[in-house]
Point group: C2
Chain length 199, copies 2
């Protein structure tokens, strides 16, 4: 991906986290990215094209910082943590009071909410959700290898939807971050105990 294109997507995430999808104006985006409006249209055709690519960008960036921080928290010399610890780590990385996590989660929440009004964003959003649910189901399957596939998927769907719900409450300032993290950690335990009971 060209540097200019990346700069535009980064700026789009910033502006959306600041003003929401409906507050995204191409003038402000061009200024934030340090490019011309024409270049934005050259790279992304129209507003929908830009929003779809920003959704994919925000999603990939979340995966990247998740992977980086998971790696940073796990020195090679140490015994690798168990599958549940890795799952907990991956999910809780989305609930951190760091500027880039806040920005990314806010932009994601906005883009997701705007898909209610904009069917053209749904394909990108559905794909991201399916991949995420699959990953969490795989991690649950490492912890509970004998649980049925359908039960793993259902648990993963609940855990990821819960994370989005808790994240929205945290970002809108009505649930303290520590409570959101505690609820998420407990939920993983509750779901894993449920899967163990299905063996």
């Amino acid at each position: 991906m060209s540097d200019r294109r990346t700069a535009i997507l980064e700026a789009a995430a910033t502006v959306i986290a600041r003003r929401g999808v409906r507050g995204l104006r191409v003038e402000e985006l061009a200024e934030e990215a340090g490019v011309s409006k024409a270049l934005i249209y050259y790279h992304f055709e129209d507003r929908t094209g830009l929003l779809r690519r920003t959704l994919a960008f925000v999603n990939n960036r979340a995966e990247r910082y998740t992977a980086e921080q998971a790696a940073a928290g796990q020195p090679a010399a140490e015994t690798p943590a168990g599958p549940l610890r890795r799952l907990e780590q991956a999910l809780l990385l989305e609930l951190q009071d760091l500027p880039h996590v806040r920005e990314n989660s806010t932009a994601w929440g906005e883009l997701r909410a705007s898909a209610v009004f904009d069917p053209e964003l749904r394909g990108e959003l559905a794909l991201a959700s399916v991949i995420w649910v699959r990953e969490v189901a795989d991690q649950l399957g490492e912890a509970r290898p004998t649980a049925p596939e359908s039960a793993l998927t259902a648990s993963a769907e609940r855990l990821t939807a819960l994370l989005e719900g808790l994240s929205a409450r945290w970002l809108s300032g009505i649930l303290p971050l520590t409570d959101a993290r505690t609820r998420m950690r407990e939920a993983i335990g509750v779901e894993v105990a449920h899967l163990a009971g299905l063996d």
Copy 2:
């Protein structure tokens, strides 16, 4: 509440569900409610006042249709359903493909998301959440009277946050309604089994 005031709040919920909070224009609202712009400012002072009252209105309306439908589903002649059945009924009423449920849930999701950008909405939103969590915790307590209070609250926080997460996925068209309802029903079972294990 005066009829005119109610008409404005109903229209505000409709317009927000149609265009989002940022798409709410006083001109369109006045037209939808069949009143003058001046009357809107007379009743609600400013945009923030209007949004705060709309949030409370949407929330009260959800409680009202929940109560009505729960009553309708439970003829007086029948034995009252157990506490779990009532809880399931109350939560699943938010996941129904009916125009008024869709409108109410979409408007609620929009108002909740806009609290990320508008701290003045947070008081109303936090109050509504606390009351809802309290109600669900009480219903869980009827089913599991010996579970500790803190565990009931934690379960209720998870179930209500999950419902918001599932509802957002359903409304944005990425999770079929039947799946959302199934996940919610399962989650109640999983949480109740968890509470039973704490006795």
